[in-house]
Symmetry: C2
Subunit: 118 residues, 2 copies
């Protein structure tokens, strides 16, 4: 499955999804899919790549190891991040009333597939 096909698969499986992207740890979006024009995945990628690094430093400093996933529940949406390799992570933005458990499951599946592509 190509990068864009993986993202389309995730979005298709979860009706409440707003957008999904594969983002480098440098904050640059490699591939993105979205249902709504107003969702700025480029800006989100830049913000959250930096946060993911900060969270990783924090968990390592308190002896909890590296970060594999980060889930942010904001007022307007849930933002799910999953590390795929040391250089890339997946993002899925879903409506705030969306199914968080299914979102995590889909990102885990997509991440396992993408590991060989990235």
């Amino acid at each position: 499955m190509s990068l864009s096909e993986s993202l389309r698969w995730v979005m298709g499986e979860l009706e409440e999804s707003r957008g999904a992207a594969i983002i480098g740890m440098d904050g640059i979006v490699v591939e993105e899919q979205k249902k709504e024009g107003e969702l700025d995945l480029q800006a989100l990628g830049a913000e959250f790549s930096s946060l993911l690094r900060s969270v990783g430093k924090a968990t390592e400093s308190v002896n909890l190891g590296g970060v594999t996933e980060l889930v942010t529940c904001a007022e307007q949406s849930l933002v799910l991040l999953r590390r795929v390799t040391t250089d890339y992570f997946l993002v899925l933005v879903i409506r705030s009333d969306g199914n968080l458990g299914k979102g995590r499951f889909l990102l885990r599946r997509a991440g396992a597939q993408l590991k060989t592509e990235l």
Copy 2:
């Protein structure tokens, strides 16, 4: 229920919990309970209060609103954060194989109770 009773209730309801705390947005621990001496909730509070502010700035900058919850899956533990008021948040650290759904549910219940106390 007092602050320490609320934390003990959360810990008692979830066998996989390692520690819980009520922390100010200035990073200072107001109350803590833990099962293991090695878990440094003071250090964790300082690190995550700063992260919670950064995540809130990030979600607001991409028009997703303020942050109500943050879940970090690290290699050694899951760290669940829940905003209780503008000044305080709850932290629950559970083993990485622990029940994330139950942890979130317990924090939501405890948060609702604590809102009137803080």
